[in-house]
Symmetry: C2
Subunit: 393 residues, 2 copies
Amino acid sequence: MNGFTFQCGTKMIFGRETELCVGEELRRQGASRVLFVYGGSSIKKSGLYDTVVKALEKAGLFFLELPGVVPNPRVSLVREGIEICRREKIDFLLAVGGGSVIDSCKAISFGVYYDGDVWDLISGKVRPGQERIPVGDILTLPAAGSEESDSCVISDETILVKAGFGSPLMRPVFSIMNPELTYTLPPYQTACGCMDIMAHAMERYFSPTPDVEMTDRVTEAILTTVIHNLPIALAEPENYAARAEIMLCGTWAQNDMTGCGRIQDWFNHGLEHQISGFYDIAHGAGLAISFPAWMEYLCEKKECVPKLAQYAVRVWNAEMNFEDPARTAREGCKRLKNLIREAGLPLTLREAGVGNERFEEIADNMTDGGSRTCGSFYQMGREDIRKLLGRME
Amino acid sequence: MNGFTFQCGTKMIFGRETELCVGEELRRQGASRVLFVYGGSSIKKSGLYDTVVKALEKAGLFFLELPGVVPNPRVSLVREGIEICRREKIDFLLAVGGGSVIDSCKAISFGVYYDGDVWDLISGKVRPGQERIPVGDILTLPAAGSEESDSCVISDETILVKAGFGSPLMRPVFSIMNPELTYTLPPYQTACGCMDIMAHAMERYFSPTPDVEMTDRVTEAILTTVIHNLPIALAEPENYAARAEIMLCGTWAQNDMTGCGRIQDWFNHGLEHQISGFYDIAHGAGLAISFPAWMEYLCEKKECVPKLAQYAVRVWNAEMNFEDPARTAREGCKRLKNLIREAGLPLTLREAGVGNERFEEIADNMTDGGSRTCGSFYQMGREDIRKLLGRME
C-alpha cells in the first residue's frame, strides 16, 4: 500500500423524497443567489423540475436557470454559465441531473474565478486556484460518480477534444440522492450507467501496487453489488432496493476511497475518451466494448494473470484453476461479456457504429506517436493499442 | 435500505513518516495555539513525542501539553483540559495516541463552549452546540476508530459510569496515520484493537434492516481483511502491509460508512461498557468474550439464522449447509472463537478475572429493570442477558 491523502466531505442525503429538502439544504449551506443547471426535458417530464422550483421559491432563494447541458458536456455552455455567475453574482451552483450537469457546474465553479478562458483550466494549461463557487446536486443518473468526485470532464465541440481537470475543492458540498428519481431511466441508460460504475471500480482495481487487500475487497464489494442489481433494475425499473444499491455503488466507486494507496490505471477511460471524441457513442457503451477486450488481451500477459484470476474468482465466482490460472482469468472476461450482452450493450465497435478509419490516429494520440505507453497495470504501447482496437472491431 | 445522511470530511494523511508533517498541517488548518494531548510514556519511549515537539516548534506554533490520558479516559482530565483551553485561549487540540486520547480531546473540544459541567454533555443531559475547538490527531493504535468517528466515550471514575456523546462536528479535521507507529504495540493490544475493529463492523452488520447489500459486502471486506492480517501482525510486528491494512480497517469500520441506511445494533458495546464500568478489563477483551457468545445465543433464534449464516459463509468461508443453515451459522461462531483464542484473547469472563456477582445488576441496568429490551438485530430482554452472561462465565 502506498501513502496517500484522502478527504471527501460531501454531505450525502440519501433516500426517498430527499429532493424536497433542497431549498432548506441550500439555505443551510449559506446560498442566496443560485444558478439552477440542468439538461433537457427529462426533469420537466418527470416533475422534478417543478419540485425544485417550488423548493427554491419556498426557501426564498433568488435563482436563475441554465438548461441545455448535453451528454459529453460542452465548454460553450460552461462559458455561458461563467458569464451568468459573474453578471448575476451567483453564490451557489445547483446541478440537477447526471454527471454531465454536475461536471458542467464544476467547470463553471472554478472558471468564474479564472481571468482567462476556462479551457485553460480544463485542458490542464493552468492549474485551478483556491477559489470556487460551491456546487450541490440532485442526482438523477448513477454513473459518472461526479456527485462526490473531485474532477470533471468537458468537451470542446469545435475541436473534438474531451479533457478533464480536478481539485480537492471540486467535490460537491452536498448530493441529494433519491433512487426513485432513477425509475424512469431507459434500460439502455441504466445499463450504460452501471458499466461506467464498474469501469470506475476496475480502473482502480487493476493496479500494479501490491498489498492493497482492503481496497481490493471493497472494490469487489462494489462490483458484485452492481452485477447482482443491474439485471434486477432492468427487469423491474421501480425496484427501490436495486436502484438504491446501484446509486450508492456509483458514488463509492468514484469518490476515490477505493483508489487510496495505489497507482490507478485509467487506460480504458483514456481509450473511450478518444473514441467518443471522434464518434457519437455513449460513454458506458464505449467502456462495455473496451474493458472486456482489454482484459482478454491481458490474460495473455503472464504478469497480469494473478490479479485477473483474483477478479474472476472473487467478483464472478469463477472456479480457481490452480494449474492454469489464465483459464480462470479468461472465465472472468467471459462472464463480464455475458453481463454486458444481457444488459443490451454492445461488445464490438461495429455494433456501436464505429469504423476502423481512426485506429492509427487513436493509437498515435494515446502514445504520442509511439513515444510513450498508456496505463499502469499493463503499459500499453502503440502496437498493443492497435492490436486491441483490431479485436474490438 | 433506509434513508440516511452521511458526511465525513476528515482528511486522512496515511503512510510512512506522515507524522513529520503535523506542524505544517496544523498551520494549514489555521491553528496557532495548540494543546498537545497524550497518554503516558509510550510516545516518549518510541520517540514520537520528540518528533511532534520538533514539528510544532519548527512550524512556530505555541503549544502546551496535557499528558496523562488513561484507557477508559476520565472526565477529570477532560475538565482539566477545558480549563487550560479557556485560560490559554487554545484554538486547536492535537491528540497523539489511540481512541482514549482522541475521545478526551473531543470531549474537551465541546466542553470549552458549554457553560455547565462537561458531564452534562457526556451523559446526554444537554445536547452539544454548534461550536467546538477543532481536533486533529496522530493515531498510534488502530482500534476505536475515533480518528474519523463523530462520537466519544468518557468515564466518570468516581461513579463507575461510562457514557458517550456525539455530534456531526465531532469528527477530527485531520488524522495522521503511519502504520509504522504501531510496530511497537504489544501483541495483546494489537489483538484487542482488532477485536474492537471487528466489533464495530459487526455491530452494524447484524441489523434488522433488509436490502443492505453493498454496505454488508463492504463490512465483509473489512472483516475478512482484519481476519487475514491480525495473525500476520502478531507473528511479524513490523510487517508494514499487515499493519497498514489493519489501520485502514479500523477507520472505515467506525466512520459509519458501513452503517449508512440501516438500523445498527450495539448490544455488545452496551454490555461491554457495563462490564468495564465495574471491572478493569480491556475493551477489546470484553468484546472478545461477549460477541461470540451473543452470536451463538442467536444461532438458536430462527429469525437470526439467515444473516448469521451469510456471515459464516462470506466472512469465514464456511460451507453453506442448505438443509440446516444454523449449523453453518454456528461454524461462523466457532471460527471467530478460534481466531480470538489464537490471538491470545479471553473467551470467558473467568479468564478475564470477572466474577458473576454483578450479573443481575448488569441485566437490570441494560433493560431498566426488565422494562425494555436492548439491541435491534435481536431484542435482548433481561432474561436473555442473564442467560448470555451465564454462558460467558
